[in-house]
Symmetry: C2
Subunit: 479 residues, 2 copies
């Protein structure tokens, strides 16, 4: 419910976000520190995200499975970098059925270890490879500073885990999934993300290569929106994931993992939202169009509802996710604000004059106010609205892409970089040393986001130290 005015983005972007998540009815704070409740409206959005991704995973040969939520503590100690990365964030079960456990169990922060253990058991021969499994579920990372969807102790995600007979195939898998993530972000969520490789310090604990998609939020900070990792034989050696090859020789597998989480909802909010509230891309919106019937007298009501009901049926039959708001205890103005807050892409108003004229009023959520309002005939409204949904989807992507491109700058020198990252991303040559990366982080709190695959042909010199550099990287402040 949108009773109180939303703090504007200009006033306080962080506070705007926090209020919006609650007012748009997406999620709520749980009574467990750092945890969230994803409310039905937010969960339906997540269901639309999962359906789109799951279809792509299955189309590329992946299958889903379920591995236990609890993992023996000793499993984490088998891969050195992995345990170092996750140890500070673990939630630990010490008692079960009233008794102290012999070995503590960890509420999974990620499942490489237990899945690696099972793969070692299942994989015998090259004929068993590749093994391409995904899991939908939640994981637990004991975060101190939390923010709904962006950083919570428990969050929802999918984690894919694959094993291959050779590194080429494993790397291809990593890139294939990154493409699925990027295509999903761009085509379904209207998020113009950039694809690239993470620096060594920003890699996932235990990975040899981490790739990511990164999006620019409206405060110009970057949000890592999904990652895809290549482990080489690190986990295969830690868990003895081996196979007999065609020459009857025992070999270690090459493995990958990849994940996309409810963080994606945070990315959608911070990319498309405005001072009226949430703005949802039509392809993912739980409700794509809402009908608000407008009348005063009983006579008007009868006429208006006849048209509204007919429109509802027509649009529903056309496969549009449509909602009728026939509440009688709130004003039309309240309803307008309410659905704007929830980011419904199209509002359809039907009043007595519309009934007379055979028209309805359409309001586009992405263009609030008069600019986004039009009067169209009731005849053929299903295709009018379907077309408008496509138009809005495209407009959101275009606007976000223009915003991103307008806020990525090439620094002239290091001082310029420092200035740029206070209000945008810097795209600069970097020598790929930890020292230069650390210096930028210390000087201006910006981190390397990723080294995009699309690179200029010519080489350059590191923006920090001036040494030769082959590739440019994005520097930005990040969530």
């Amino acid at each position: 419910m949108a009773e109180e005015k939303l703090t504007t983005r200009a006033e306080d972007f962080s506070e705007w976000y926090n209020q919006l998540v609650l007012k748009a009815d997406l999620a709520d704070y749980a009574p467990v520190r750092g945890c969230m409740v994803v409310k039905p409206y937010g969960w339906t959005l997540w269901e639309n995200i999962t359906a789109a991704l799951d279809k792509e995973f299955k189309a590329t040969g992946h299958v889903n499975a379920a591995f236990p939520t609890l993992i023996p503590m000793s499993f984490f100690e088998k891969e050195k970098a992995h345990v170092e990365g996750f140890a500070p964030e673990l939630a630990v079960v010490t008692h079960g059925g009233g008794e102290l456990l012999e070995e503590p169990l960890v509420v999974r922060p990620t499942s490489e270890t237990i899945i690696g253990y099972m793969y070692a058991k299942w994989i015998k021969s090259w004929r068993d490879l590749p093994i391409l499994i995904n899991q939908w579920g939640s994981v637990m990372r004991w975060e101190l500073r939390t923010k709904l969807f962006l950083r919570t102790a428990e969050f929802y995600w999918q984690e894919g885990h694959t094993a291959h007979s050779n590194s080429e195939e494993a790397k291809e898998e990593m890139f294939r999934i990154l493409d699925i993530y990027a295509n999903f972000a761009i085509n379904e969520a209207a998020l113009p993300v950039v694809k690239g490789t993470k620096s060594e310090t920003e890699r996932f604990a235990g990975a040899q290569i981490t790739t990511s998609i990164e999006g620019m939020m409206q405060d110009k900070k970057a949000l890592q929106s999904a990652t895809s990792h290549y482990f080489g034989q690190n986990f295969a050696k830690a868990f003895e994931i081996q196979y007999v090859d065609q020459n009857n020789t025992l070999q270690f597998c090459e493995t990958t993992s990849w994940g996309l989480s409810t963080r994606m909802i945070g990315a959608i909010i911070m990319t498309h939202g405005d001072d009226q509230g949430l703005v949802l891309p039509p392809r993912l919106a739980p409700i794509q169009a809402v009908i608000v019937p407008i009348f005063k007298t009983a006579e008007e009501k009868a006429k208006v509802m006849e048209v509204a009901d007919r429109v509802f049926k027509e649009l529903k039959a056309a496969g549009i996710r449509i909602k009728m708001d026939d509440r009688d205890n709130v004003s039309s103005g309240f309803k307008f604000n309410d659905w704007e807050m929830r980011g419904v892409p199209v509002r359809i108003e039907v009043g007595p004059k519309d009934v007379e004229k055979g028209s309805v009023a359409l309001a586009r959520r992405d263009r609030p106010g008069r600019e986004g309002k039009s009067f169209v005939p009731q005849a053929g409204l299903d295709s009018t609205v379907s077309g408008l949904l496509v138009e809005i989807q495209d407009a959101l992507l275009k606007r976000a892409t223009e915003f991103r491109d307008a806020n990525i700058h090439t620094p002239k020198d290091y001082d310029d970089l420092k200035k740029i990252v206070t209000d945008g991303w810097a795209f600069a040559y970097w020598c790929e040393s930890r020292e230069c990366e650390a210096k930028v982080k210390e000087d201006c709190k910006a981190t390397t986001r990723n080294i995009p695959f699309d690179q200029p042909k010519e080489e350059g010199t590191c923006i920090v130290c001036g040494k030769p550099s082959k590739r440019k990287v994005y520097f930005a402040k990040a969530y």
Copy 2:
């Protein structure tokens, strides 16, 4: 893989079950005591179950949401019967982020408490009611004696939690959901379950009424396959779930909860399986038909594969979940056994003679051997197979119903009841006293399963104590 012969049901039903779950590739034992890994084949079966149920929940106005996995220990202490029921089974998180927690957190065994807490926060007025939320996820109950799918420390399920303004509506909800469960079991899983009310001692911890669907397994034991509970105001009072009614008076809500779990997979196995392995109802089978091309020479292969590929495409286009088994490292006989073990409803064999004759061989999984084999024209195979899948679905339900009905007996007297429950269910009048129920349990290890809604018109006398009785109950040994 079906290398070793399955123990037969007659030899050892329990061992038959344990072997089948592994050999049919449904699940595996996890390295955490009492937990399971649901393998892709088993998980796809579960996905088909969840899709069918989710559709019905949504069609009846329910929405999904997600509540935290961890629940403060103190929440359990708010409802007396609830904590007594669940305290012995809790897994407890005592440490997070390397530190001892102020209050221990429980890995949810069920979510009435945390959802009740949130409902108290969300519900203000009669206009907010009813609230109809479902959650898909897993829960943890520290079981000592576990069996894959039937009883594991962690299992997968859905749990619905609803709040209403009056008891009639809450009870209607409980019954509506029980009907959804029963219809699903009968129409999708071919399980002829009986619907009824549980006795007071068999109720869910904290419920005023518990209803269940109960199925008869092939060993004639009963399996409680889903439950739907009415709580009255028990949880509403414990968690202060209140609303202001239309007269501006503060009232307590009436609540329900209901759940169906991966146990359903155990029910399917033990109802339909045979000595060759799993037998899946076509409507839920991950693979509905498998094509086994049969050839010796390269010339034969070319001809056979041309037909097999065409058939594959045709059946896929007809919406049949079809699999091509073109493995070249195992014999056709091995493939037959393998797919029989996995319970695929229809096998399609294509050999050189079939190519000549324009036919294929169809083998029905529900009738192994020659009896279930037929030769049919390749022309129109999509509708032939679709029709056969319907026929198999019906045949499974019919066979299970006949088996159930042949093994439910009306005892003449108490001695007869004792005999009946050693190898069947007894359907008998019972005075509904705890004493008589306890006596049966002690004398013959049989429990009351449920008091079915379909009852004879006349009253009778309790099979145990001879006192007047209004309703009959099923007594049976149970999982």
